[in-house]
Amino acid sequence: MLKLAKLHAALPTHPDRAPLGAGRVARAAPVHEALKGQDRVLAHGARIVAHVGLAGGDIWQADADLVPELNEQTHPSTAFRVVARAKVRLTPGYSLRFRAACVRSGVHQHLSGADWAYVGTGGAVKVSVTYDNGVDDPLAVSRTVTPKASKLENGLEPEGDGAAWADLHEVLGDLFPPELFESAAVARRWSEGVDAAITIYFRGGVRVVDLCVYEAPTRYARDTAEDDVESYSTHLHTSGAADPLPAYPSPWPMTRRSDAGGGDPTGGPLAALHVAARQGRVLGPMLLAWSSWLESQDVALTEAAPVSSTSTSWVQLLAPAVTSWAPTRAGWAAGSPGMARRADLAGPLELRGVAAVVPVRVRAWCRVTDDASPGALRLQAGDYSIAELPVTSESWAWREVLGWLECGVNGDDPQSWQLLVKAGGGGSAVEVRYLAVDYAAG
């Protein structure tokens, strides 16, 4: 039987566990509440998987202080340029959407013959996603949205202290594959083990303050006859119509309910234990996303200019004068990932409650300029906690590696992750455009 859950951003419930304790009369109602609570865990996320924007910059490519000239490219073109990429293993049952905060777009230009022509103000944002479950043909979804354009001469920004803030507006779009909503059978195929490759483009004179692509819960389905109960990331304590059950389906929770007879395993203790174990293995945070895009980069670029290093000793990629990890140095946030601590890596016996570790999948869109001299990247959480990614090819591509990095125990515990780079010598450079680090499920 196909069982579907329509996921909504849900608040978790923590049912009273006392009626399940020793010496209590076994009743169906507390079991029902416990399984309903287990079904509310999966939809409790909004992971940000990619973002790009001003990123500390004080200037746009559509420069408000620069009067456009004819026959010369001074402003962005009307062709799409890649400003960010990311790749992530999606949370089961999730798809993606995006939202961008923008101020009004400035001037863009168009190449007409050999000359650059001024074609007014405006621009667009496009986000493309390829969903891949490793079995079916990938599903591609793309959305293009158009922020408002400047009404001022030469696409200027409004003048005056803080005037740009009154100009802020949002554009947004869903990136859900329509196939997901065709049937529970299709949703089932795209519920587990889906990788999403994301590309973000800007066109023309868009002025994006911040754009983020994030996960939204959609649909999760399993086939109780086909899918091993160990593959359930949520209990599916639901009816065949995807509705929560109003009550436990039998009056006496006294005997095992399992798929031993080929039936529905949901609602029983085996499924409850499997789901509990799987949620610990599969559910975890998006740890960091980064793009080398700067609005100050040359308007002729068709993709973000990489950050590169030829240092043959370890240096920080974004602070090349720094040669090691240090807690006092700038780094990405690594406190809250401790909410996803696993028993086998960070249990009370393993780390004694004084430290925390999460499994990570480090991905970098990177290359070396000479593959005879390979380099490496290190995402480092301390002197003793490193994930190292070899960079051996001259072609741009996602490269990834598995690691286990120290983190805080929660968002109050300050921890930072820093990226170091080492080139192989001979003038070969390691170049990095994008990073995407997520929880390594499994």
């Binding site: 200037i59 202290d161 809250s336 028993a343 003793y384």
Partner: protein
Amino acid sequence: MTALHRNSKADSVLLLDAVADDLQVDLSQRRTNLADETTYLAEEPSARAAIAGDRELAVVADIGPDTTGTLLYHGHASGDPYTYRIVVADDFGPVVQFYEDGELIIEVDAPELDSEPGPYLIHWSSKATGAGTARSEVMVVSLSSGAAAHAFDDHAVGTPNPAHALYVGAVAGANGYSGGIAAIKAVRIGTRFHSTVEAREDWVAESTAPIVASQTRLEPVPIDTTTGLAAEGSLYGPAILHASHAGTQADKRLWSPIVSEVYRQTSIAPSLGYEFEPARHAVLAPGSQYVRLLLRHAWRRPVPPGCRRARARVHVTMWPTSGVDVCSVQFQVWAWDVLPFTYKGLGPAPKSSATSVATRATSDGTSTGAGAWVDLGNLYLPEHGGLTWFALGVGFAEGDSDPALEETRVRVNAVTIEPTYPTPLPGDFDIGE
């Protein structure tokens, strides 16, 4: 009652510690000692040490400039075949070599080698990554200086043979460790992947527990469903009780950093002065006389369902363009459900929240100076449709005059806003509303 050794873990199949007892005494829960062969230790055969895939091997031993020989070995007594072997070899100085299934997979120089033999932790942990493959992490730490060397490899795993033997300090008497068995201080073999952080906590130095004001989560040890807990005829209670507890501990596993930005920290990276150029991008924070919110540090982000509190930190570098002094600089993060600067009076009025204003007045000398983290504390998260606006505000000299005001530059190197729980009560410490 037998006191457990602090480094005896649930997965440990062998734990030797010459400080706690004679080296051959097994301090793991197995409590099965190795045979003392005078110059080496042995267990022939050793089914418990026949492990591939998920596995931890840890050795503490003295290494000096002339050290060579076998530290740990599981395989045939003749020296071939074998599942794993750790040796110190002479390659223009001692190098620690790690072999799996007869293949050298990793070698690491002992860091900061002294002229006299000194203690080193040699930690090799591997995690199964597929059928017959594993990823290994190796860390060699000087326990004298704390210096560490790391290496990594993805490799095929061997087929461990339970009929093979385990040797410490030699291979059935051959290729003995040059420092003698007395130079080997501790050995642990386990059936689980151990992170290098766990190795540090066990063998180098135990950390101090962090002091946190908000809730934490930790996965309970998963219950193997083949246990009697869920067997035919058993009551539901214990299994459902565990699953319910696990669900509570899993409810925030997807909570991720809301803002986590690191910027270039070079001399040409954008910085900020008291004039806040371009002025059109900087607006006074509501009710403030001097904190200006920066468009370059503004975000529109989703917040996890149920998350109403976050902790904000910034990392900044401050320097004078001339002279040696900087004025004080203030930092504050704001959050809104609806942006007040664009609110047209339709719908509920915007709700806002802000951290405390934190001040830093330390010069880092130059634009590439070290800088420092500034902890801004917590803020409440007003949300609309699951999203919140955020902005970083900066002020110079609290809006007053200062001799160093015009020379002071500040560059924001990183901003982090991370979710915490639970939602605070009104009036709680540094949370504004």
